[in-house]
Point group: D2
Chain length 133, copies 4
């Protein structure tokens, strides 16, 4: 499953070089991830209400070309791996309707309860499994 999320680049997303500050792509990965989960009928809020949090333990990103103020970008999110303890997502960011990749990367998160890594409850795992492949 691939979920595509749109974002309009904000003035506050940019920096003195006239382009988007690179740390903001990491934020947009999160935006993509949240919408990917929503497409599986899963929200972080529902998980948090159940005591499960979703900390990111690793991220990586490559920046190929800059996005600029007011660009409409697409954040393409896919699930690459899933166990009951861990999940990995991949992201590709393009200008809307353009083939060129502006940035891509990945994030790995664990599932924790009370600050410790836990086994993700079946009710959440079952939904996430549907997002693989």
């Amino acid at each position: 499953m691939t979920v595509t999320t749109l974002h309009r680049v904000k003035f506050f997303d940019t920096d003195t070089m006239g382009v988007v500050h690179h740390a903001n792509y990491i934020r947009w990965f999160e935006t993509g991830r949240v919408e990917f989960l929503r497409a599986l009928n899963l929200t972080l809020t529902e998980m948090m209400d159940d005591g499960i949090v979703f900390p990111i333990v690793e991220i990586g990103a490559k920046f190929h070309a800059p996005a600029k103020f007011d660009d409409e970008i697409e954040i393409e999110t896919t699930a690459e791996a899933l166990t009951r303890a861990k999940m990995k997502f991949r992201y590709v960011i393009r200008k809307r309707g353009d083939e060129k990749i502006l940035a891509d990367g990945s994030s790995t998160n664990v599932f924790t309860r009370d600050g410790k890594i836990c086994r993700l409850p079946e009710k959440f795992f079952a939904r996430l499994v549907k997002g693989l492949g």
Copy 2:
């Protein structure tokens, strides 16, 4: 009492106009406020541990001249008013060692417990009173 806090302007504080994005001055007001409280031997963490939170209910700011990347700025914080339910701070931001005011403004916060406005406990109030005038 006036407390002066230094901040080095970050690249990510700036925008496409080559200057600091105006919303960041509101963040720097907070930096000044936190250091003002620390100078009174009071931390937000200590208050939160006691169930007291400190939501901002009003802010205002004027922007006179822009700060730029790598500028060292001074955030000058004073307490303007205090009751057991409410507090008002004033802020002046200058480039370090320069008289010219870049931005100034104010914030008003209330004290709340369980999401409702409360009377600030004496142990905190006593310390804050020392910061007036």
Copy 3:
């Protein structure tokens, strides 16, 4: 003219209190302002290409109730005043489909060329005038 812009609250918009950090409403005012201008067929980019920038000289905001992660909010933007040198906008932020105001405020900007306040060229002024009232 009133322009309503939707925003989904991001995880990175929130803070340790579990609510949106107040400085982010100031950023959302900008989001509303940019969309208001777009509704008048005007972009900051077009103005910047003409050498005109749009610095904010004053903002004010009141925070009535907190927005939280994943809330869908509406940013309602209106133009309150316009001269050839200056413009004032008002903003009201609500949870989508809810009457209750979460935050409201205003911004004043000037129009500048080469860092000095200028008279806004007719081609831009004419479009902005349509947004009043």
Copy 4:
């Protein structure tokens, strides 16, 4: 050469989980990098005045334990590789005076002029070389 930079965690650095949002560590890497360059008597501003910009093309980070509001953190920055076209930095983030690593990672940047990768002028290269090893 290793350069250590201090940062006090801000309220606006945190999120609803009560810890620092992971994207902020990427911003702090930049803070470390800027101070590393300053220790070599080099500023991004001097390079930009010469037409050289310094875009990040790749970042990676691992998050081991969370920083919280008001923590004093140390950003330890080292230069790992340098050519006339490219540079790689490594970062380790700890709580001040604590051995435990909260986050670590790396960034790779290129040197560009007029949007194209260039050979870094000798006057800058000579200073950067001193920071290796």
